[in-house]
């Protein structure tokens, strides 16, 4: 029996077809440590693309895509083995269901990963999650009592720092109630393949590259340019200004000066 941890040097989405059956532009490769944003109008197929990766599609979804691992199509046994394990996914309808305190649960997770010091790992993850969440939670809070944003923050921190999955898929983190810039920071450092579907310009520019969707297929792939990186800095500052203003309004301060 192999260990539960998995490694992957390259994931390829081999091209499928768009909603009218026309072939997609080309294959797309994903590498560890690389963050890719999926952009495109509502209904253009971003979530479908994520689902294709999650299910290790083998020409058995509407898009006809195939997922290759390290350049090869996994055989049926391998595919079965990886189902539910290769990919950690964060969607809006996911919640914690276990009746346990946060610290106890994360420690348990760290133990199952054979961490040298599970308690220390748990503290680190809880701190990371609290840095993402709006309102911090206590280590002994119940998992099921966390707010939507706190749950998402804990899921992101745990997936980035402790999960065995080399691939992390996120659908619309901007609506998750977490500090997206910090979340991105954490994910970039995690050395995972990260793919994010988003409508948010800051997130889009935070990614190393962007896939543009149209009519159910990838139309273009754009690497982030140096000028775009500068634009990101500018945008981030504007956003910070925006949140400072929101905070002051929330506290009932005067903002007319």
């Amino acid at each position: 029996m192999a260990t539960d941890a998995l490694t992957l040097a390259r994931l390829t989405v081999a091209r499928g077809r768009d909603k009218s059956g026309r072939p997609e532009a080309g294959d797309v490769d994903f590498a560890p440590g690389q963050v890719t944003a999926l952009l495109g109008p509502t209904g253009s197929g971003k979530s479908r693309f994520l689902a294709d990766i999650e299910s290790l599609a083998d020409d058995d979804t509407p898009s006809g895509r195939r997922i290759l691992l390290d350049g090869a199509l996994p055989d049926p046994d391998r595919r079965f083995e990886l189902q539910g394990r290769l990919v950690a996914q964060l969607t809006q309808n996911m919640n914690f269901v276990l009746d346990l305190g946060v610290e106890r649960f994360i420690t348990m997770h760290a133990e199952s990963r054979q961490a040298a010091d599970p308690a220390a790992v748990a503290r680190q993850i809880i701190a990371a999650a609290n840095a993402l969440a709006g309102e911090p939670f206590a280590p002994d809070a119940q998992l099921t009592q966390l707010s939507g944003g706190q749950s998402r923050a804990l899921m992101i921190a745990d997936a980035a720092l402790l999960s065995w999955s080399p691939v992390l898929l996120i659908d619309e983190i901007e609506n998750a109630g977490v500090d997206k810039a910090r979340a991105l920071d954490l994910l970039v450092k995690s050395d995972k393949i990260v793919v994010i579907a988003t409508h948010d310009p800051v997130l889009a520019l935070s990614a190393h590259r962007r896939l543009i969707f149209e009519h159910g297929a990838v139309r273009t792939v754009r690497e982030r340019s140096a000028a775009e990186k500068r634009l990101l800095t500018q945008l981030t500052e504007q956003e910070a200004e925006f949140s400072r203003l929101r905070e002051r309004l929330r506290r009932g301060e005067d903002v007319d000066s």
Binding site: P76, D77, F80, N93, V97, F105, H109, M155, A159
Partner: protein, 241 residues
């Protein structure tokens, strides 16, 4: 005929997974027949029949469905042979968690879902501990962290089984499961096959319809508890006579 036992707690997704798996088997040219053993009520046979899979259900009523299964296995097998199916799957929702329908020489599957609580793998007992393949469902509803911890717990209870994640709603993993079923052991006859786990003895006067409370009415296999024994929360069990 290939023989498979499929056990798991109520509503964990056994039928959902098996429906999709049988469909994949049919595409591969392998026909299935399904028997469901349950206690009081089941609509599973209709669900299978609606999908064009020969199916029948047997209700144990007041008996344990797994005991009832063992008593009726020869007849069940004969029925499945009569359908001409190549693969016979027997679904049971072992209710007491102490019994298990798994047979030596047949493929033993256990289904558990991700929603049952962290101690569920420990509580489920022999139907999980003695399974060849453990299928975990409803991963779509929980976090990756929970899936991983849960899987670890299952591994601790059964370090021999293959553990796989499947989804009863989307059918993810069912095509691959079908390939496993199509390689299940061929069984000529079930007569003289052995259960993997001796069913717990449960014959006491209450098994025989006694309703009155009191030691004087209790005969047969009776265990008495000594409450408040040594150690907080500990109780000692002593065999009655």
């Amino acid at each position: 005929m290939r023989l498979v036992t499929l056990a798991g707690p109520p509503a964990c997704g056994k039928t959902s997974v098996l429906l999709r798996t049988c469909a994949a088997l049919r595409e591969a040219g392998v026909s299935c027949a399904v028997l469901k053993f349950d206690c009081l009520l089941t609509r599973d046979a209709e669900a299978y029949a609606a999908a064009g899979i020969p199916a029948t259900a047997a209700l144990a009523g007041g008996l344990c469905p797994d005991h009832f299964f063992a008593t009726n296995l020869e007849e069940a097998f004969a029925w499945a042979q009569g359908t001409g199916a190549e693969c016979c799957v027997i679904e049971t929702a072992g209710l007491c968690n102490r019994c298990s329908p798994h047979l030596r020489g047949a493929l033993a599957l256990c289904v558990v879902d991700n929603l049952m609580g962290i101690d569920a793998p420990e509580k489920i007992g022999p139907m999980l501990r003695l399974a060849d393949l453990v299928l975990v469902t409803k991963g779509d509803l929980v976090s990756q962290a929970e899936r991983e911890v849960y899987r670890h717990r299952i591994r601790q209870m059964n370090n021999r089984a293959v553990i796989r994640h499947v989804n009863g709603l989307t059918g993810q993993g069912c095509r691959e499961l079908a390939a496993v079923l199509s390689r299940a052991p061929q069984v000529e006859t079930v007569t003289d096959m052995r259960l993997r786990f001796a069913m717990p003895a449960a014959v006491c006067s209450y098994c025989l319809s006694e309703t009155r409370i009191g030691s004087r009415y209790q005969k047969g296999n009776v265990k008495k508890v000594k409450f408040g024994g040594p150690g907080a929360g500990q109780t000692e069990v002593v065999d009655g006579d």
